[in-house]
């Protein structure tokens, strides 16, 4: 389907009032780079969509599903776009045409376990037909391009939504659809999700998700923890480190992983199925908004040069969708003309750092994120200048988590302990940082778990069942999402900067032995094996 966009010549500023996109500029030729200035369209909280906006958004999803039912290989369809996240290789008929009639799509979406990366599992793929392999995706996780990859994916997905029915032939026009976000650090408008996603008759619904209402009056993910990560963490800690560095970032581990595993469940528990659930897109859009807040706070220049800027983002997108300004595909696999009009990747991450340049921004709605001043106040209360860790009955980490219901666990499945001797001298930027680490070995089938880490004096009995103990000595927590298609022998590491905490202990506790205990629980009753884990330890990392 050819899509003609008309662009306004005026630029809207982010944070301004929510103004619907009114377009008057000349059309552009699909697949070409448009003029430099784009109208900035604002992405809203999904609960703030007007009835008309919601109707258009739902219709866009419905149309994308219908496009896939006509041909599962159509790159503007729901299935192909899910494959962009879920699959690094799929079998494609040489004809590039395979309909999915009747209840085929319904059956696919009803399953939380069916492997959709193998089309033969749900579509008619004649054994005798000529086939080849294409690479729709796959998502990047556990890397310093995790956030950038998903930002690019959402950019193109928004274009696909708009292109699904811009003329309004089958329902409301989708020309002006913008991808909303779900702020999951606030109480949901529905029982567990935004109301729009709990209507069984809506194309946004997915029956495989966990359905039970929230047991607590609090949201699951703490908005204070999220804000702390945004305002106070450098890129490596927040978004992930380069190859050979400390690994995945805290937005991925502390916030994203738990939500996939333990909150949403169903297809969202599996990275090879997650993007088949429409809630994936509004969920990740809030993570993208969080990335935007980080960039507002620190500046895009604070993202270190190198892979975080330059590693091309793998995905095969439809070539007719509006590409980002500056898009180019680098020195990549040559295109196969028989495969139609497509891109071999989504360009470089740096293209997407300036969202307004690419025509989108977030609404800047008041109170969507906790202000920095409130986090500063919390830090002043629980980790004030001159503090000594352990003296305050509530550690900073406990305080940050307390605004969500996902707090430290009282009954872990396993515990491991190590020791650490408080150094004689405080650490400075010149002599290094203290990093708390523990690891899990590679396992045959990657499993998900949550972990809380405690630091306490050697003479203090470990008593994780006690609220007082947990509140006082919690220093870190994390969540690991076991990935399908993952290399089974890749281990994982928690790598937490505890310099401030260690330095607080130097004046009066230098030379003392302290205990570190990590408490681990399998995700949603899943098993964990104590033999897979190392004991936690603290190491000093020299500065570069």
């Amino acid at each position: 389907m050819i899509v003609n966009y008309a662009l306004s010549a005026s630029l809207l500023l982010a944070g301004a009032s929510e103004v619907a996109a009114q377009v008057t500029a000349p059309a552009i030729t699909p697949g070409t780079t448009p003029p430099a200035a784009r109208e900035v369209r604002l992405r809203k909280n999904v609960d703030d969509l007007s009835p008309q906006e919601l109707a258009a958004f739902e219709h866009a999803f419905q149309r994308m599903k219908e496009i896939s039912q006509a041909n599962i290989y159509d790159r503007k369809g729901f299935i192909w776009n899910a494959w962009i996240h879920n699959c690094n290789a799929v079998t494609v008929l040489d004809s590039r045409n395979a309909p999915l009639p009747g209840d085929g799509l319904k059956k696919l979406l009803a399953s939380a376990t069916l492997d959709s990366c193998e089309p033969r599992n749900f579509a008619t793929i004649p054994a005798s037909a000529k086939k080849h392999t294409e690479s729709p995706g796959e998502c990047e996780h556990r890397k310093n391009i995790f956030l950038q990859w998903h930002r690019a994916q959402l950019y193109f997905y928004e274009q696909a939504l708009r292109s699904s029915d811009p003329e309004g032939k089958y329902g409301p026009s989708t020309r002006d659809v913008t991808l909303p976000y779900w702020n999951f650090t606030a109480r949901p408008s529905g029982k567990r999700y935004p109301k729009a996603f709990e209507n069984p008759n809506s194309p946004l619904y997915d029956a495989t998700r966990f359905q039970d209402p929230l047991p607590s009056s609090l949201p699951t993910a703490s908005p204070y923890l999220l804000a702390y990560l945004i305002y106070y963490q450098d890129w490596a800690t927040f978004g992930g480190d380069q190859l050979g560095g400390i690994g995945q970032g805290n937005l991925e581990t502390r916030i994203h992983n738990y939500m996939h595993n333990d909150y949403m469940g169903g297809k969202m528990q599996d990275n090879t199925k997650a993007a088949l659930d429409p809630i994936f897109y509004v969920f990740h859009n809030f993570l993208d908004y969080s990335l935007e807040k980080w960039i507002e706070e620190h500046g895009a220049a604070a993202i270190p040069a190198g892979s975080a800027h330059d590693d091309y983002l793998r995905a095969q997108q439809d070539g007719s969708l509006l590409k980002p300004i500056g898009f180019e595909e680098g020195n990549s696999d040559p295109k196969n003309p028989a495969w139609g009009n497509y891109t071999v990747n989504m360009g470089r991450p740096a293209l997407y750092f300036d969202t307004k340049k690419q025509g989108f921004a977030f609404t800047g709605k008041k109170n969507e994120f906790v202000p920095k001043s409130e986090i500063a106040a919390l830090m002043a209360k629980h980790q004030a200048a001159g503090f000594e860790f352990g003296d305050n009955p509530v550690s900073l980490m406990t305080a940050l988590l307390s605004y969500g219901s996902n707090t430290a666990m009282a009954k872990p499945d396993i515990k491991l302990s190590g020791k650490y001797r408080i150094p004689a001298q405080a650490l400075t930027p010149a002599n290094g940082t203290a990093r708390l680490r523990f690891s899990r070995a590679g396992v045959k089938s990657d499993y998900s778990f949550s972990a809380d880490v405690y630091l306490y004096p050697e003479g203090t009995p470990e008593n994780i069942g006690s609220t007082d103990f947990r509140n006082r000595y919690l220093v870190a927590n994390t969540s690991h999402w076991g990935l399908s298609h993952n290399h089974p022998d890749s281990g994982i590491e928690l790598n937490e900067n505890v310099t401030a905490i260690i330095n607080s202990l130097v004046p009066k506790k230098a030379g003392e032995n302290w205990q570190i205990t990590v408490a681990i629980r399998g995700s949603k009753g899943g098993k964990v094996d104590i033999n897979d884990f190392s004991a936690p330890f603290i190491t000093i990392i020299a500065p570069n």
């Binding site: 690994g247 190198g306 091309y312 020195n331 523990f438 290399h487 190392s534 020299a542």
Partner: protein, 125 residues
Amino acid sequence: MTTPSFKTDIIPIFAKYVDDMKDIPVASSSGTRRLQLDDYECVKSFAQIIQFSIHGYDYLPRTNPPQLREGARPLPKPGGKPGEYVTYVAHPMPDNPGGWAVELVRLPQEAIDLYDAWVAAGMPA
């Protein structure tokens, strides 16, 4: 020791893994390509990623702090100080879907050394 060449020395190292990786798209700062382990330009393009991956089993799991496997020669950390090595790799290679003991899966040390030497020599064809 003669300078290793891709054709003579590197192709044999990866020969049995070519089929496994040929449909997997990999990203680098030059572009995205399906990893063709028997193609000089492709391996050269992803030389660093490959180097990190084959060093991914250098350290023993569950060791505190990380302990080097006997006989392994670790990879110096890019931009790091003397004595700093890469101890964590997200995706070690070769892949091990069967969950075999690492000693059975890891490339022989001689092969890792040869690859490192090839990279250090400027990756001659």
